[in-house]
Symmetry: C2
Subunit: 252 residues, 2 copies
């Protein structure tokens, strides 16, 4: 999920939402010009985090919601015994921290995977704005609903798929997200370590490594450290019994 340097630099400049290249992928996507202007008003700061730095930490009081502007981050929760579970990887445009809204304390941590710039939305001011812009409330609920649905999908994958399928599904997911961001869907850099990825997929690092070399032997994938090239998207797709997203049955 490394973003080419040119894009990273462009996004790192402080830029109004209305001119931000993420506006179609970000919160303002459903808002009017006027509403977007008001939203800009609650962006308290646009910070930058170095790899490994915490955006926020589990247990901490909720101060800001964050939107990734450039770079990428992981979010994770930590059990009492110290074991961690990575629950997501985040690309530009994603809203982080919603799970803190019940307790007003973060129930998960977010850590930058690379040099990452964000928009920080003051929680109080954002909350107040939601009551004055009816549409913003709808937009945020939609964002929460999307995360919920994605988490459920993840539960399905982790619960029902074997290690090899999980890895393939992950690669397809990244591929689709890269495409949505205007990047190549067949060649990209992963911004997380093998350890992080294995933890996310709930398999051992070693197992993941073996799977990736197996995919290479099968001939539809080339992996060199974090660089990934999918040489046959169809065959990668075929390695998953069936793709969940493709043919949802619509009942009315």
């Amino acid at each position: 999920m490394n973003i080419p340097a040119s894009v990273k630099n462009e996004a790192a400049r402080t830029v109004a939402c209305s001119h931000c290249n993420l506006r179609k992928l970000c919160l303002p996507k459903g808002l009017t010009e006027e509403e977007t202007k008001q939203l800009e008003g609650v962006i308290e700061n646009t910070g930058t985090f170095e790899p490994g730095e915490y955006l926020y930490e589990q247990g901490e009081r909720l101060r800001f919601l964050y939107i990734v502007r450039a770079g990428s981050a992981k979010s994770l929760i930590t059990a009492a015994d110290g074991t961690e579970q990575i629950i997501g990887f985040h690309l530009p445009g994603e809203l982080l921290g919603l799970d803190a809204l019940e307790q007003r304390r973060h129930t998960s941590s977010a850590i930058a995977l690379e040099t990452t710039s964000v928009c920080a939305l003051s929680h109080e001011r954002f909350d107040r704005l939601c009551t004055t812009i009816p549409h913003l409330h709808v937009e945020v609920m939609m964002e929460a609903a999307k995360i919920l649905a994605d988490d459920h999908e993840l539960l399905l994958v982790l619960g029902q798929k074997k290690a090899e399928e999980r890895a393939a599904i992950f690669l397809l997911d990244v591929s689709a997200r890269m495409k949505a961001h205007g990047f190549s869907e067949i060649e990209f850099n992963l911004s997380m370590s093998r350890g992080d990825l294995a933890n996310y997929l709930s398999i051992a690092r070693e197992t993941l490594s073996r799977i990736l070399t197996h995919f290479e032997q099968e001939g539809f994938l080339q992996v060199k450290r974090r660089h990934v090239r999918i040489t046959s998207l169809p065959r990668l797709r075929a390695s998953v019994s069936r793709c969940e997203h493709c043919d949802a049955v619509l009942i009315d």
Copy 2:
């Protein structure tokens, strides 16, 4: 999660929120008298579902959000290949269907586990009400955040804990929820089958069965079909390396 018949009958009567015995556990918990009255206005019907009946089905257009009034339900998602993953069991007071708010179509299904009565909230009218009662919007976001945090906790458990610990954690969770509802925390009926429970915990039915008999042999649990009696809560707790909920570190 079988609710004693007396309670079931009482709740099955159509009752105003302000007199409902769930009001402390349900959406109105953060609302004023006046706001609660308005909320009652969007309860379009209070239906009853028989065991196995769908409240809603994945793919279906969103019409209603549901609150369980009495009984219990499971929610699940179905993959293209037909495999299912149960993502939650729901007791009275829980709000179902939020994950449909992005697509305006249900991304999961909900099925009654026993005879179950619900309050059905018209989605459109509820949405409109959220813009007129600022506090309701906050309340719903908190509900969504709680579900998110719970799902993340589930991901941690499924990703990091072994089968036996998962089962123990589940029993402790039910115990706590029964207590919150004013029932015994050491003796209750499960409303789901072994198959459903095993699927939820992402283990095989047979493995779950063996684990429960093992717990019996250890002497801190008695299980007879769906009836569960915890004969030593401390020892059940001890069978989990450490309990996540107990000692969250609070950072400020």
